[in-house]
Subunit: 203 residues, 2 copies
Amino acid sequence: MMPPIDFWFSIGTAYTYFAVMRLPEIAAEAEVEFRWRPFDIRAIMIEMNDVPFASQPVKAAYMWRDLERRAAKVGLPLRLPIPYPLAEFEQANRVAVIAAREGWCQPYAIATYRRWFVDREPAGSEPNLSASIREAGQEPARVLELANSEGGIQALDAATREAKELGIFGSPSFVIDGELFWGYDRLQDAIDWQRNLDHATPG
Amino acid sequence: MMPPIDFWFSIGTAYTYFAVMRLPEIAAEAEVEFRWRPFDIRAIMIEMNDVPFASQPVKAAYMWRDLERRAAKVGLPLRLPIPYPLAEFEQANRVAVIAAREGWCQPYAIATYRRWFVDREPAGSEPNLSASIREAGQEPARVLELANSEGGIQALDAATREAKELGIFGSPSFVIDGELFWGYDRLQDAIDWQRNLDHATPG
């Protein structure tokens, strides 16, 4: 039995779209289990004094063009321009942390990104927020009360501290056996790493 | 006849190692012609007020680990730690621009990176500099006089301006028909883009 790969992500980063949308299919094909671990990449970047890739106009122009080409290549829908950056980044991720704890993170994150990247509704804000919670089979009022409580704020902070201790500085990141792989482009490397671990297991 | 893919690179960035070392093999396998176009990424980053990836200790630690894993995966030698960053970045690239003009850029860049990443001799400094020029079949005294002349300085500046006008912000980058692909991770995308262009050509 192979250990799961931790999928660390923040709703709000553009390249996380590919990982969120394709992970269920990749998990099934590669027979890999992913553990969805939402955290707050923005808090880590502020602490590192780092700047978002898309804060440079030249890089931003490239990023959207690259996303557009890659989405077309893998057959994912994308309707540019989408709202960016998000105004309610933290709220989107506070809900994701609760969803992960309660076992409905994957459908919530997928609904959130689809509404954001296809329907152009900012993730973390209404109407995307409640609709995505509902699509994951939950009652928005209950979830939002939890997410915006002191406990909800602390749960996202704790996840973010854990990510930081693992050396995470970007979303998405994949962690397997203490090895960090940054970016959707390294997902195959993470899966290969896990396979090699499995082969190294005695017996 | 497919148009060549412009391979824009600066000696001095760590991830450029993979592209420099593997491009001849990839060109032969994919039947693609690459035009080697050295430029000064450092000048562009300073102008953009951008910071090198490895200037953050957390990112630097990740970068070296990622390079180590990927080098092992593709069978490229790498002896960490290597001297980084380079003290004579510009000189390495001024020579590369002359080499590109005169047709010996590929062997010079490969020799430079091999001496840097395997023998730990900083690229652009002696003894790496003269040894790499000599390995490419040239006389160091002649080349270095040219490289350090006003004409040599202007040639690198002109190449860098051209890169900037193409929207280039990192090394390596691949440009085909005005489409920019950033990073060794996008080399296959660039090759695929070229193939689709070819299919679209009438007749």
